[in-house]
Symmetry: C2
């Protein structure tokens, strides 16, 4: 068994991928399932999000949900929603590009601090030979929040499978835990964190750093294009 970490998606995966976009998509989508969502469709386009035939859409323009949207993509707000049985459209600038880069992997899960334990168990149950933890990054650049969460997941994977072989990426990411024993500090220091703070989503940094709040692990279950825009379908998996 190999445990690898990539600081940005590179796009060739032999087995299981844990895709990490801590602030906020992988955090928020895990929590959507925790709140009962049946299916989540991820797309970058606010216009398309409005037109897709789901039960409700979440998204923001400069921090505010545009007209016709049920709410924002903030984990703090999601935790107060009742989404039982709903199909939810989730708009994200950042996640669709990362999903596109990893979608050919045999299996892709979303992982974050909030579902770390469950994501590790689910990945190890499904893995034949390798788990690659892929940090989504932010606008095509390495992101501190994702790198730290990737290190946290890699360390958990290696603890659960002491015979597994880490790569240098896993060594680098795990080493970050020494410098940031409290994830929240890294989230505050990160560019994504500062952007959220500037938009008034300070509480999201606390929510995104809670470890193991949910056992739901979003699984990439489908991909289609609608009017030239990608739409990814996610469903919930969880440890047996």
């Amino acid at each position: 068994m190999r445990v690898s970490v990539e600081f940005l998606p590179r796009g060739s995966y032999p087995d299981i991928v844990l895709l990490v976009d801590v602030l906020r998509a992988s955090t928020s989508i895990a929590l959507l399932f925790e709140r009962g969502a049946r299916e989540v469709w991820v797309t970058p386009s606010l216009r398309l999000a409005r037109e897709l035939e789901a039960d409700l859409a979440l998204g923001e323009r400069e921090g505010i949900p545009p007209e016709g949207f049920f709410g924002s993509t903030s984990p703090s707000e999601i935790l107060e929603m009742d989404l039982s049985g709903k199909r939810v459209v989730y708009t994200s600038e950042n996640l669709p590009g990362a999903l596109r880069a990893v979608k050919e992997a045999p299996r892709v899960y979303l992982a974050a601090f909030v579902n770390a334990r469950a994501a590790v168990e689910t990945a190890l149950r499904a893995a034949r030979e390798a788990v690659t933890v892929v940090a989504a990054g932010h606008r095509g650049r390495e992101a501190l929040d994702d790198a730290l969460a990737a290190g946290f997941l890699a360390k958990k994977l290696l603890r659960a499978k002491p015979e597994a072989v880490p790569d240098d990426g896993a060594r680098i990411a795990s080493a970050l835990l020494k410098a940031y024993p409290d994830p929240q500090e890294a989230l505050w220091a990160s560019e994504s964190g500062q952007l959220l703070v500037s938009r008034g989503f300070t509480e999201d940094l606390a929510q995104a750093s809670v470890i193991g709040r949910t056992s739901r692990v979003p699984l990439l279950a489908g991909y289609r294009e609608v009017r030239g825009q990608p739409v990814f379908t996610l469903v919930a998996d969880e440890p047996a």
Copy 2:
């Protein structure tokens, strides 16, 4: 002034690049200039290296210099060479790809632990707006040795210019120094380090982790293709 770190070359640079391939090319090439070399030509091809009209060629096949080569690319061996005024061909599997990815930057230097102080001073003297420290990585994947050296350089840059703004890459790389206060430990743990050890180049890990042994900073001064293979010309710069 911005200070950024990339864990693999991505290829769009506004200003100064410090390219890091600690084991071994950026280490060894800095030492070639320390030993008096006038010019270094870097190419991936052993065959081409033999044919280029330089004074001598360095390279290895499975750890041994092939016939017609003056010696290996080991820093330990280079430190014993007298290369005064020589034009040296340096063959490397890894560096040419990284050089190709960064070559459009306004200025590219090679940096390592052995020339860290000089590389930082030279970069800051030349920089208008940004220094990007680019870890070459190993075979297209993040490398612990390069990531740590990149963090070391980023930290030195930020100390010298306290008003400079780090990006998340610089934060991640600098954080590694907490986990690896002794660079040699990281070099030993790295995949490149283990590969060198397996080929009998154990001493290189010690040589590559000596900080500030030379004030020579290799500068990318030219690029040409010869029979479909890249040849990069490097010359020595140093702090004023």
